[in-house]
Every structure is written in C-alpha cells, then in structure tokens.
Symmetry: C2
Subunit: 198 residues, 2 copies
C-alpha cells in the first residue's frame, strides 16, 4: 500500500496529462518521434494502426499498460449448480476446486477456458458484499470483469485524472496481486476491477 | 441451417447421454481407454486433472468443444463516450472503427485486448433489440458474453438434452459464423451467445 502511494507520487511527476485522442479511425499518424519524448502533441495518440502499435507502446508506458481480460465474475446463489452448468453442460474441462475467501465474503470457483476465465462467486452469508447484487438480479448474473494492468499506480493516476472514481483504495486481491475497483457509474455501468500483473 | 439440423440428427445418434460428472476435485481418474470409445462409465469424466486433459479431449468431442470467451458485449447509449473511455482513459490501442449492423439494430465497436475482446454496442433506434436493456440498466452495462465452440450443432444438442432453452434458432451472426443465444434464465442469469469457430 505504501509502495503504491509512493509510486503514484512518482508517476504524477513523470506522466504529463494529455488531451483526449481525436476519434478518427481513418487517420494515419506519422511515425513516432522518440527523440522528443514525452511528445504532448495530441495527434501523436493515433487511432488504431497495426503498423505503429509496437512503436507507440515503446514510447508511452500508458499505451502498453492495459492487459487481457483476466476473468468474468458471475454471482450465483448455488455454486454447485453453476459448476454443473459449466462442466457438464458446457463442457469445460478445467474447473478449479471450491475456495473460501472469507475476507471477500464469497466461495469462488474458476473455470479456465484457455484465455479469459469465468469466476463463479457464491455469497458465504447475508453479510457478503455481493449479497445486494441479488436484489436487482434474483437469478444471479455477471457481477464484474477483471482486467490486467502492468502498472496499477499508473492506471489509478490515469483514471483519477479523468474523473473516474474508484471504490475504496487499492488493496491486495484474492490472488495476492494489487487490485482496485472502479465505480461502475463512471465506466458505462460496468464494474471493472484492475489487477496488477507485471 | 439445413446443414445444422442434419448435423444435430447425426450427433443425436452418435453422442450417448451421460450421467453428470461427480464433483470431486481430489479424484484422479485412470487413463482413458480409447479402445472402448464411447465409454459411458461416468467415472471417465474427470474433475480437472492437467495430466489427462489432452487425452480426454481426444476421446470425447464434447470435452474439446468449448473454446475461449470471444468477447464481452457492453451496451451503451453513447458509443463515442465509450470509445473515449476505453481508448483514452483505459489505454486500449486496438479500437476498431464504428460499424453499423442494421440486422441487429446496433452500432458496434470492438476493443481488442489481445485475448477476449470488448464489444461496444449502441442501439440504432428505439426498435433495437437491445433498447429494452436500458430500462433495467439506465447507464448501460454488460449485455452478454460470446463464447466460441468448435461445433455449434453439438453444443445445441448438449444444451437441449440438459433443458437449457435457446432464444430462437441458430443463425449466421455479425461475423459470418453460425451463432445461437441461450436463455439467461437457464444459464445463471447470464445471456450467453455461442459462436462456431472450427
């Protein structure tokens, strides 16, 4: 935690705020000029162009920070029934054992589909943080998605600079990596967890 | 479509219904006996054991049918704002142009995160099939997930055999591949689209 706070302070100095990228998918940017880094010219944040992807990633750490979708978390009232659905009906072969996470108030099971995983979550009791989810979603459903970032402090700084609120402070998640939850009201209705994987 | 129906009929004969796999993650199954395929002994559907994963996949086509999560579909009222969020705030570098899918009543944009993609969807007008979603989710949110299968007819047969209803018949999806939607009431509150990728 102290390390994260310190890192944010360092990044605050190093990363200059930029203007938003213009939304223009036909735009072909010139090659990046690494001699002038950091280049604050907004035209240097391109619309997607495969030819420049790696070049840009090497210039701006922000553009290589976002990783894969780690998992999709599904809230369920009956985790055994959900295991049955994913293993016996859908045919998933890599289903973890049931784990108890008392600090998050849930039982969890991971369904590994090769890339993004499915995380099944059942509240341990009524006090579980996910119990309220079932009031709006009586049959359960997708609760949140978890996305990897290579530098959580950088991601926190970038979201704060853009008025994206987080839910609480960065903590150590169930897998032992630093995580933070972003406020779904600022993320198009999607509860997003960011998890640091260097 | 006719090909799919014919395939289902063939698979109905070939695939014997099995008992559900016992939920026991400590169980180490014996090596599969390929000479006796199809082996209907329920102990031959193991809890996940990496040592036997490939061996089993070669025995039962059902256990190699389920693929990766192709994308997470997010419904938004303002796709330009969502593009801004994913590209400029989150740092996604591979964002597609805005596509119009009149047959599905949506504008779509794909955010490629290397593995599972984010699919942004904005209704074209009030008649769009996803317009109703915003009554329960005014700010938008995760609408459905799309999972690859290698054989859609086999997946349809397996879900039907287990009383999982589908929403309509298999059709050709926006990417030109056969797709089907499963009823979220039978899938733990999750709207699942299956897309065939051979």
């Amino acid at each position: 935690m102290f390390r994260t706070v310190a890192k944010v302070a360092i990044i605050k100095k190093a990363v200059q705020p930029r203007n938003p990228a213009p939304v223009n998918n036909n735009y072909n940017p010139p090659p990046p000029n690494t001699a002038n880094y950091p280049n604050t010219n907004p035209t240097y944040i391109p619309a997607y162009n495969p030819a420049y992807e790696n070049a840009y990633a090497s210039v701006d750490p922000f553009l290589s920070n976002l990783g894969h979708v780690n998992y999709i978390a599904i809230a369920t009232r009956d985790i055994e029934k959900s295991i049955h659905f994913w293993r016996t009906i859908m045919g998933a072969t890599k289903v973890s054992g049931k784990m108890t996470n008392p600090e998050h108030g849930v039982y969890t099971v991971f369904v590994d589909l090769g890339q993004t995983k499915i995380k099944l979550m059942q509240p341990i009791d009524e006090k579980s943080p996910i119990s309220g989810f079932f009031q709006q979603n009586p049959t359960g459903g997708i609760h949140h998605i978890c996305i990897n970032v290579s530098d959580l402090a950088l991601a926190i700084q970038k979201t704060k600079d853009n008025n994206i609120r987080s839910l609480g402070e960065a903590t150590i998640g169930a897998h032992g990596f630093p995580v933070i939850l972003l406020n779904p009201q600022d993320c198009g209705g999607v509860l997003i967890e960011l998890e640091e994987h260097k």
